[in-house]
Amino acid sequence: MLFGFFMGIRNNWKKCAYCGGCVGVCPVQALKLNETRLFVDNAKCINCNACVLICPVGANELAPDLKE
């Protein structure tokens, strides 16, 4: 996108405990977890904020996705 940007999920790996709770509430399977990393597919993300609200440690935030 030249003008403007999309919002997406940004995961703070220093806070993240890789518990997978956010994956469990993601309605569109935009998140995937392996043992030490949370993968976010912002192309699928619908900005519903569920993963931000559920995170027990506040590791996820909704932020401009500048890669687009």
Binding site: A17, C22, G24, V25, E35, A50, L53, C55, V57
Partner: protein
């Protein structure tokens, strides 16, 4: 490509129970786990009631059943407490990492093959079978099987990949955070210590489960839609209790708990889901070890029949739905209402209940086997004094 009758994905209590049960029935079974070790990280307060030990025929081996519990003490927001002690409430606090290893060793001894550090990258159906691409410590491997048992926890994607939507609604999950703390005091080591109150813990409770001398799991479960994080509320609580604040944290445990919204259908062609992946958790207290093991066993039972009949269709496997709901699901579903009731209580309601109800009353109300009428008979006149509370009760009991 190696072929197995059944592949179990995710080796927590449910998965390991399924492996063991299948191996006992001489079914070829492979268990895969993404982690490089069975057991950790624990996402659990580690309590398991005596009834479950009996039901599942597990002996409370002191190697993993490290601490005996004789009941619970509930703290209302005003500090008033109710002590509940009964045989029914007895149980053990587990060292779950050892417990799970123990289950794995038992399953393997029966003949199940277990591989850790195996991340399933892709699962697809092909001519009546399921093909799995697995990353095994950097090495790509292919397995095929007739049936997948998905026990891969709350973040289960395997089931979703094979067409069963196991995603949770935000209102049906709790956000959990826990410290294993040592050198702490000010709690009853022989009881489950539970703290209620909308300020300290909105839509949930804080627990202290003694595990060893002066060492305990101190944790919180709150509703998934709260503004602050579970960590925020727990840190605040610990700071307010000098006996805890002076302690040291030796472990941080984080997890999300599927406390409601049971799946009507937990099977698809070539697929059965059990444990957290199928939301198998008690809606009131959020415990799930026993329920998961039992579900794993039921899943394995149906899987074994499917292997014998060579029928892996959704239609045949749906037997599992019926079996699980008959044995456990229907009872748990009733308890969802009790959770909704608890979630709607105000601080004053909690205080009032703690002051006016006897221990026996609370025990009776909390058990799922009472009908509406007898619950009200117990509450009766007491509720008349608090119409607001009676209204909530009417709605949810």
């Amino acid at each position: 490509m190696e072929h197995f009758d059944v592949i179990v994905i995710g080796l927590g209590p449910a998965g390991l129970a399924a492996c063991k049960t299948l191996a006992e029935k001489k079914i070829s079974v492979l268990g895969l786990d993404r982690k490089q070790e069975i057991g950790p990280p624990k996402r659990c307060a580690e309590g398991l009631g005596i009834a479950w030990f009996k039901r599942l025929k597990i002996k409370p081996n002191p190697e993993f059943a490290v601490h005996k519990i004789f009941g619970a003490v509930l703290f209302a927001p005003n500090g008033k407490s109710v002590i509940l002690k009964s045989k029914k409430l007895q149980g053990y606090i587990l060292e779950r990492k050892i417990f799970e290893k123990h289950l794995a060793i038992e399953a393997a001894a029966k003949g199940a093959k277990i591989i850790v550090k195996s991340d399933v990258i892709q699962a697809k159906r092909e001519s009546g079978k399921v093909l799995l691409s697995v990353n095994n410590g950097g090495e790509q491997k292919q397995y095929s099987c007739n049936l997948v048992i998905a026990t891969d926890g709350i973040d289960s994607l395997i089931a979703r990949e094979l067409g069963l939507n196991t995603a949770n609604k935000l209102v049906d999950v709790d956000s959990g955070y826990q410290y294993e703390m040592t050198n702490i005091s000010g709690y009853d080591e022989k009881l489950l210590n539970l703290y209620f109150g909308t300020d300290i813990c909105p839509r949930g409770y804080i627990w202290i489960f003694g595990k060893r001398k002066n060492t305990a799991n101190v944790g919180i479960g709150i509703g998934g839609t709260q503004k602050e994080t579970a960590k925020f509320y727990l840190d605040k609580f610990i700071a307010s209790k000098p006996g805890l604040a002076k302690g040291s944290i030796i472990e941080v445990n984080v997890g999300v708990i599927p406390v409601g919204g049971f799946l009507e259908n937990m099977v698809k062609d070539n697929l059965i889901a059990a444990g957290d992946a199928a939301h198998h958790v008690d809606p009131v207290h959020g415990g799930g070890i026993g329920i998961a093991i039992e579900a794993g066993q039921i899943a394995a039972q149906v899987a074994a029949e499917a292997v014998k009949k060579k029928d892996f269709s959704e239609k045949f496997l749906s037997k599992y739905n019926k079996l699980w709901y008959d044995v456990r699901g229907n009872e748990l579903k009733k308890k969802v209402r009790i959770r909704h009731l608890l979630e709607n209580l105000s601080n004053e309601d909690f205080n009032y209940i703690a002051e006016s109800l006897s221990i026996e009353d609370v025990m009776k109300i909390a058990s799922a086997d009472l009908d509406k009428k007898s619950r009200f008979a117990i509450l009766g006149k007491k509720m008349l004094k608090r119409p607001g509370l009676a209204k909530i009760m009417l709605k949810y009991i």
